[in-house]
Symmetry: C2
Subunit: 445 residues, 2 copies
């Protein structure tokens, strides 16, 4: 049998785990300073929790888990696999972190203190067709607050984005919009029934420019007059101008006021990245009802590194209505790729073998072990080649492959004289000294 992982899944070897944990530790440290608390939910959720939450396509992409035991006992839909699936499965794998969070908040409403700020970094599973850069199992990294309508929350999330990417040494642009402004534009242009078509066209502004959007709008059956109106709005960079154009829509003005309140919080902050208003931003429109966030980097040609927004009713689906939530997520996979491409992973992200011992028989191996334990007690990452009968060349190759800083050789001579031979693998210099001398140099540096 040729061993393999399922399509769309990956093993993460040591280097990848270290690098990913570096990203997560930078992110977590910022989250925790802002008083967000960690939550972990089960990989398996009830299908009743998951299904119907991600649209028809999402329902198809959910990984469903077969009931244990005789799952056929109560099944009869042998000619309808969609129906059959729900007869023979009652659990599915987590598809995102938002629905489990909402489920958790609703379940624990009486025990939690609101506003409740939580972060969650866990894998999710989706049965998408595997392709380059798209996996069936991947990490999500979400930070949300539920139970507060205050724009302070949005301001904090902008600061979190700013600080995380600054700490990762990755310059970004943080873009904001508000679903209410978009709805207001459609309202004033009298095309509320074509809202989705309008946002899909607007979403292409980055790619096709203002003239391109105009063509898109017309191509999507949006009347000439409405198209001209939208064209005027996306051409202006003045918020005052936009306000004037949308003054007949209380909803749009509310969205603009929210945006301005966020910016008032940020006005005096020493942000390290640019925060901009982007009227074309429309992600995740199906459930966002207020602010919309997106993060892009000018450093690399890649999609967004994160995004999020506010939803007026996060937990209503689970019987807890009128709880407004706002949150953003970090696209861990893409951030990983960008840091890799720009070589921004610091050397300290890796646990590295500092010392490897080489010995030649049972007695020198025991000596090596005794010394190694002293180094380990001092917190130094140390390894021992375990088979002393192995040829020196092969033992040295092992030390080389492991990228050790020092190789400590204990032979018969060294054992007799109570010394060790220290080879510095960076400069190749080899010296004989006492173990204490080596220990002191290493632990005092």
């Amino acid at each position: 049998m040729k061993p393999a992982t399922p399509k769309g899944t990956r093993d993460f070897g040591p280097q990848e785990v270290f690098k990913r944990n570096y990203i997560f530790s930078v992110i977590k440290k910022v989250f925790e300073k802002y008083a967000f608390l960690p939550l972990e939910t089960p990989a398996m959720e009830l299908l009743s929790t998951l299904s119907g939450k991600y649209g028809d396509e999402g329902d198809q992409l959910l990984f469903k888990i077969l009931k244990n035991g005789d799952f056929l006992e109560k099944a009869d839909a042998f000619d309808n696999y969609k129906k059959m699936a729900f007869q023979i499965c009652e659990k599915g794998l987590r598809y995102d972190l938002t629905i489990p969070f909402a489920r958790y908040v609703a379940m624990n409403r009486h025990a939690l203190t609101f506003p409740f700020k939580r972060y969650q970094i866990q894998t999710v599973w989706r049965g998408d067709k595997p392709q380059k850069g798209r996996y069936q199992e991947f990490y999500q990294c979400d930070v949300d607050v539920v139970g507060s309508n205050a724009m302070l929350q949005e301001a904090e999330l902008v600061c979190i984005y700013d600080e995380v990417f600054a700490n990762l040494h990755l310059p970004v642009q943080i873009r904001l919009n508000n679903r209410k402004i978009l709805a207001g534009i459609a309202e004033v242009a009298n095309i509320s029934d074509k809202f989705m078509a309008m946002t899909i066209a607007l979403d292409k502004l980055d790619k096709v420019g203002v003239e391109g959007v105009k063509k898109e709008l017309l191509g999507r059956d949006i009347p000439e007059a409405a198209t001209e109106f939208i064209f005027k709005i996306i051409q202006t960079s003045s918020m005052e101008q936009i306000k004037k154009l949308l003054q007949s829509s209380p909803l749009a003005l509310e969205g603009i006021a929210e945006y301005e309140e966020i910016m008032a919080f940020l006005a005096t902050m020493p942000l390290k990245n640019e925060v901009v208003f982007d009227i074309s931003l429309a992600r995740g429109l199906n459930y966002y009802t207020g602010t919309i966030f997106e993060v892009l980097t000018p450093a690399v040609q890649i999609g967004s590194l994160g995004g999020g927004g506010r939803y007026a009713d996060l937990t209503g689906l689970f019987g807890l209505p009128d709880m407004s939530g706002v949150g953003v997520s970090f696209g861990a996979e893409r951030i990983y790729d960008v840091l890799e491409e720009l070589q921004l992973f610091p050397e300290t992200a890796f646990s590295q073998v500092e010392v490897i011992f080489i010995s030649f028989d049972a007695a020198t191996l025991r000596m090596a072990f005794a010394y190694a334990q002293q180094l380990r007690a001092a917190g130094i990452c140390t390894d021992i080649y375990p088979d002393p009968e192995t040829k020196l060349k092969k033992q040295m190759k092992f030390a080389n492959d492991k990228n050790a800083k020092y190789v400590l050789i204990i032979g018969e001579e060294e054992l007799k004289n109570n010394t060790i031979s220290v080879k510095n693998m960076r400069d190749g210099v080899q010296e004989v000294m006492s173990f204490t001398e080596f220990y002191n140099t290493l632990t005092q540096s």
Copy 2:
């Protein structure tokens, strides 16, 4: 719809995540000093990787994942659910960390440097009947080395157990045995065909004592003479005596020599916990072939906190024969319960809100945010009650529920005078001072 998690699964709230991460961070730190490297494998493995590896019972307990799309297309075993399962599923959830590790090593044999030392801390899933303390989704924490027959590895694993539990401030006893010794006893007693029965009886030594084991042996159709022989062995605490009794079995003597080699490595080590030979230890016998480990604590009435052993052929199942592996695991769930019961979780294991701001209108809230950002920039965990119109009493309750150390109140008066009111929540004392004064006290302490 009443929200719920599937039976046998749990949400981990903030306190639980912090506590569990404390355990894992203590463990990881030790693993990494011993040059073990982290590995993460996918939650989903091919059923061809998983099935047949855990016995018939294990196959039934595997969670199988329904194929995406029309899974019924190629299915016809509508009257045989066991057969049907393999027609409609091709993936299953990870059942342990050993098989995925073996699969990974076999897949990456040409890229890895041997001996390869890896640790892995991930969840596994088993369809056991849920009951108190037994879950369908739980963490495992394994450390293994593959590609070395040296007893040095066993000695290192004993030291790792010793150091981890010392660092957790939990006294333990580390028990060792060797499968070869057990096989040798059966051989000399001429009951090799009753090997399993013998080990099951021996395994009860702790519970029923030597006389009890004698009864067990006789009850399991082990002849009187063999029973007397085994009785003699378990009554002696002298390894020399045991050697004499088993001298006709080269296999037993090999096992004893291995044990003695481990103890020779440990002889000069300043271990903090007791290491004992336990001839009744027989865990996981189906695949262990050499040393067997178990860790128990005298502090609490609970099962073993960890165990493991050596297996002569770890990766043979995946086409890479003759690779000996040895490893141990930490029972994270039980360790958690024991630390909880003995109140051994340190206060530093939790991220705690140090400062919470309270304000009364838009202007004081903006001031609070500006101050909060300065504290956060200094690494201090800070929160802000986001709705300034809320009554003081309710805001104070929030700060209380969050267990904040300081509450910083900014009212109209404070804003005008450029001061803050600081309430120390530990002693209840409230003082008025400048923010700089407070900042300096906090950051310089």
